[in-house]
């Protein structure tokens, strides 16, 4: 690789002048940036606007479902390539109880890859990506967004009016912002063995199945 080379005096001088030239060019470029405004921002507190407001409308943040316009068609559940969405339906008689109601509408944000495939088949635009993206949870379990908070009180499916081309929808992001606040909840207790034994001591910890 590094075979010895014989350099003439001219080549030697050219080397020196070439090096000086590239120093000149390179150093003037880097110096010019000393006198320009840095391009980076000081996220999150020293921003002219909160980042959420600067994102484009198509931004794919946390998913949000407006249960008031959800028709319980399960198209999003089918479209999801990684089974992030879980919907449990119960059938009623249609008189005392609604014909179709949702006991559960969970989106596991910890698993979601924000691809947007679930949004596309939704007939009423109930499931949408919001521009929300900030949030931190204390535990993986907390990351699941439960749009039906109480399974004992199932949500009736929305019947879209015939021929409608627009559906009432809550402002985008309002629901999910409320749900994200719950992420700060403490993590569930460490799983205990056979229900009653006390939490294992330090010596045993390594044997506890996760």
């Amino acid at each position: 690789m590094s075979e010895p080379t014989q350099k003439s005096l001219g080549g030697w001088a050219r080397d020196v002048s070439e090096s000086a030239r590239s120093l000149w060019e390179g150093m003037s470029v880097t110096l010019s940036y000393m006198f320009k405004k840095p391009i980076t921002t000081q996220y999150p507190d020293r921003m002219p606007l909160p980042v959420v407001h600067t994102l484009p409308t198509r931004y794919r943040g946390f998913l949000e479902v407006d249960m008031d316009t959800c028709t319980a068609c399960q198209a999003c559940e089918r479209a999801c390539p990684i089974d992030v969405i879980n919907i449990d339906l119960i059938r009623g008689d249609g008189v005392t109880t609604p014909k179709t109601a949702m006991e559960r509408f969970d989106i596991d944000i910890g698993k979601c890859m924000f691809c947007g495939l679930c949004v596309e088949p939704c007939p009423t635009g109930s499931i949408q990506h919001t521009r929300e993206f900030e949030g931190a949870a204390m535990a993986f379990d907390n990351l699941t967004l439960r749009f039906v908070p109480d399974p004992a009180k199932p949500y009736p499916a929305y019947k879209p009016p015939k021929g409608a081309d627009a559906y009432p929808r809550k402002p985008l992001g309002e629901i999910v912002r409320k749900l994200i606040r719950e992420w700060d909840a403490p993590a569930p207790a460490f799983p205990q063995r056979d229900g009653q034994t006390p939490r294992p001591g330090p010596a045993e910890v390594s044997h506890v199945p996760r």
């Binding site: 120093l23 470029v29 010019s32 391009i39 000081q42």
Partner: protein
Amino acid sequence: MSAAATAISLSLSTIAKTSNPRSPEQLVDGLLRARGIEASSPLSTLAMVAALLAIAFIVVNCAAIAAGIFSWLERRIAARMQSRVGPNRVGPAGFFQWIADAVKLLLKEDLIPEGANVHLFRAAPYFMMVGFACTFVALPFSHALIAADLGVGVFYLLAVTAFVVVGVLASGWSSNSKWSLFGSIRSAAQIVSYEIPAGMALLVPVLLAGTLSTQGIIRAQGGWPWQWFVFHDPAALAAFFIYFISALAEGNRAPFDLPEAESELVAGYNTEYSGMRFSYFFLVEWGNMWVMSALATSVFLGGWQLPGLDAARFDALTGGAAIGLEIVSLALFALKTMSLVFVIMWLRWTLPRLRVDQLMSLCWKYLVPVSFAGALFVAGWMLVVRAAPVLDLLMRGALTALGALVVTLFVRRTLSNVRDVGDRLDVRGNW
């Protein structure tokens, strides 16, 4: 005990004989004499040793603080050059970041890898610290501020800076890591090779001043740029650049940062270190920037010399004027040194890294021959100038004008760079 004390006092008095009258030893000596204590009494020796310790304490701490501030400065400058903001959370413009980092490093666990040579591993950072701290003995800060104006100042500085290589080698070898070993071997080869051009380049101002003492070399120059040694003749100008390049290489600074090339060797010889021991390496690296810049300022850029004020007239000043001008000279010296430090940082964030063989060929094929030729040229030029002093003035004037021209063209180029990409000057935004 008394034998040791006599030896110290003897060595101190030898140093005192070769130093200027305002050095600290003379100060202590004068204070003692004023109280009627003779230099030969044991009390005087004790006072001398105490003064020595105090000075050492101050100097080492100043060096550490300077290195800390440089770490912040370097990060801010690098960030700005890369269109970033840099540390911005701790204090105004993130200034106290270096204190936060120091505290963090102090509190971190001091890990010693398995299979490491424990004693050597522990000792290596101190070798580096000692080599680095020793340099501050002979470095001037202003007209009077110098720990000891050694008669062999430049030679002493060159000798102690080479001590760092012991620490580098020891840390790399004792880490029991192949990457560390690579780094330390590279570093050893590099430092030993670049000693030669650095020494030869420093020979030029030594020839011109006729002394090895740093204060003496500064006194041989003047306050105005054309009185500096850097613009004395073309060989001196070349010697300045050669010294600067060699100092970069000796300090392991980019583009010669091969020993710690992060893209090749992860972190080089300090890969396995953590906590305070790790921080010593960086203390030395950043502190070394001050050392190399201060030395270059002293021997090439006129040091603390004030424009329009002769060194002899400066000596004669007393009272408030002396103290005021002392501070001005300190500020001027710091300003010159800091500009060189800025250039070192600027180079680091501009240039790619050389390969090992290119590093060696740069040293042996380019710097060494030029530095030898330069030293010869200067010797000849001094003879010429003695015969025709007008040539000296002409040459100094021409080189200073050339320097000014280059700086002007460079500033214009930089401004046009800003315009070329459709940007505008803005130094105040986004701090």
